[in-house]
Symmetry: C2
Subunit: 221 residues, 2 copies
DNA sequence: TTCCAAATGTAAGCTAGCTTACATTTAAAG
DNA sequence: CTTTAAATGTAAGCTAGCTTACATTTGGAA
């Protein structure tokens, strides 16, 4: 499902990206980041929205005890910093490059809003995009409220399959090449890292899936 | 904090409400609902945003096991159904009147979006409003992830104080007259009802607060 | 005024999942 | 090719908070 949205987003934001227009390119550039580089920090002024051209970006924040909390890890074609459109003034999270060669295209909020005003179709797509993010949050909250850790893992894997999965032509398994560590996943679904690991191995034991460092295979039933 | 927004919302949506214009009033009316009446159900087409003129509205949904889950209870001046603006097609929750005399002002999404296009200030306020709702969700999620039940109760009471509280001139206590039952609150903060009750009585025992059916007093320190 | 259904109060017993601690494996950097 | 920090695997012990069950109180309906 989110796959469908993802594609629509690409249409929208691909069309949007100002680097396609020559005049803009003269003034601005894609921004490049190395591994671990921060694109923005918590508390930074929220003046731009970013489209990922290449690489991986981690969004998260630091809890009072200093522990890093992961909100999401996004890749090529995905958008982040969108709360700036909704009047956020300072960032409530950091954005950090995970790859040695991450490229993002920054779009000033003002430009975004101007486009939304002048192009009804575009604005509706942005609304839908924001609505999706909203629902995703609500879904996470509901899972946290009512589902046990194993169920949350399975739901997370389903989402992951939408974003990164493809069907293995030989086995029919869904192969997911993803950028998450077990620590990240644990943080996202609200369990401890050891618990997540145990669950993953249980699911492997019952042949629900197989996994290695950066690949998960959901077995066909 | 949310109080400030609340007031701004009133400005915006007060100015917006089409019943102020005579022509509109001839065609549409405020909608009245009795106790327990549903304003919309889950799965209903999401074509309108609603402003509460009077009374109380409960938003929630039913879990698979049939248990009711409360998302929020809103009162005069507050807005709901706003996901319709963000391209939601069918409701993911129900809206139910809690008072014998609840009045709401429905605003079609199309009209809303037209206004947003034609009035930049208005659209920015709507964006900010949506951003607030977004942050509220994120805050709830973070609390659920990292805080124990007692902390969540206290945070909830702080929010409640913003929405319904006033300072008692004699004692200096913050008095909160609210529409929630303990069951509602438990559902909102993600605990069981017995646990919430125990916590409330513990907080009463340590003189942090006092409470009866529909009033909570946060004691001055 | 009485009655009833909903709301609130309370306790016992159980368990999912946390914390902590440590071992093992892996991949990236020099 | 070695080194090393990060990632992953595993287990023991503990506890917050759940479930269940029941008692008591309360406000509104009749």
């Amino acid at each position: 499902m989110s796959k469908i949205w993802f594609l629509e987003d690409v249409n929208v934001f691909g069309a949007l990206c100002p680097h396609k227009t020559k005049r803009y390119r003269e003034r601005n550039h894609f921004c490049q980041y190395g591994k671990q580089d921060y694109i923005y920090f918590e508390e930074d002024a929220a003046t731009k929205v970013y489209l990922i051209e290449k690489g991986k970006v981690k969004l998260g924040y630091y809890a009072e005890d200093g522990k890093e909390v992961v909100r999401a890890i996004l890749t090529k074609g995905e958008l982040f910093g969108e709360k700036a459109i909704l009047g956020e003034e300072s960032r409530s999270e950091f954005a950090q490059s995970l790859d040695a060669q991450t490229m993002v295209c920054p779009v000033p909020v003002g430009q975004m809003q101007e486009l939304m005003r002048s192009n009804r179709t575009f604005s509706l797509k942005v609304y839908k995009f924001l609505g999706m993010r909203f629902k995703k949050l609500e879904r996470r909250l509901d899972l946290l409220l009512f589902k046990d850790a194993t169920t949350r893992v399975k739901e997370f894997l389903d989402e992951l399959a939408d974003d990164f999965g493809y069907c293995c032509p030989n086995t029919g398994d869904t192969v997911i090449k993803h950028p998450y560590t077990q620590k990240d996943i644990a943080s996202l679904i609200g369990t401890s890292r050891p618990t997540l690991n145990a669950i993953m191995n249980d699911l492997k034991a019952v042949n629900f899936l197989d996994f290695s460092r950066n690949e998960i295979r959901l077995k066909v039933a």
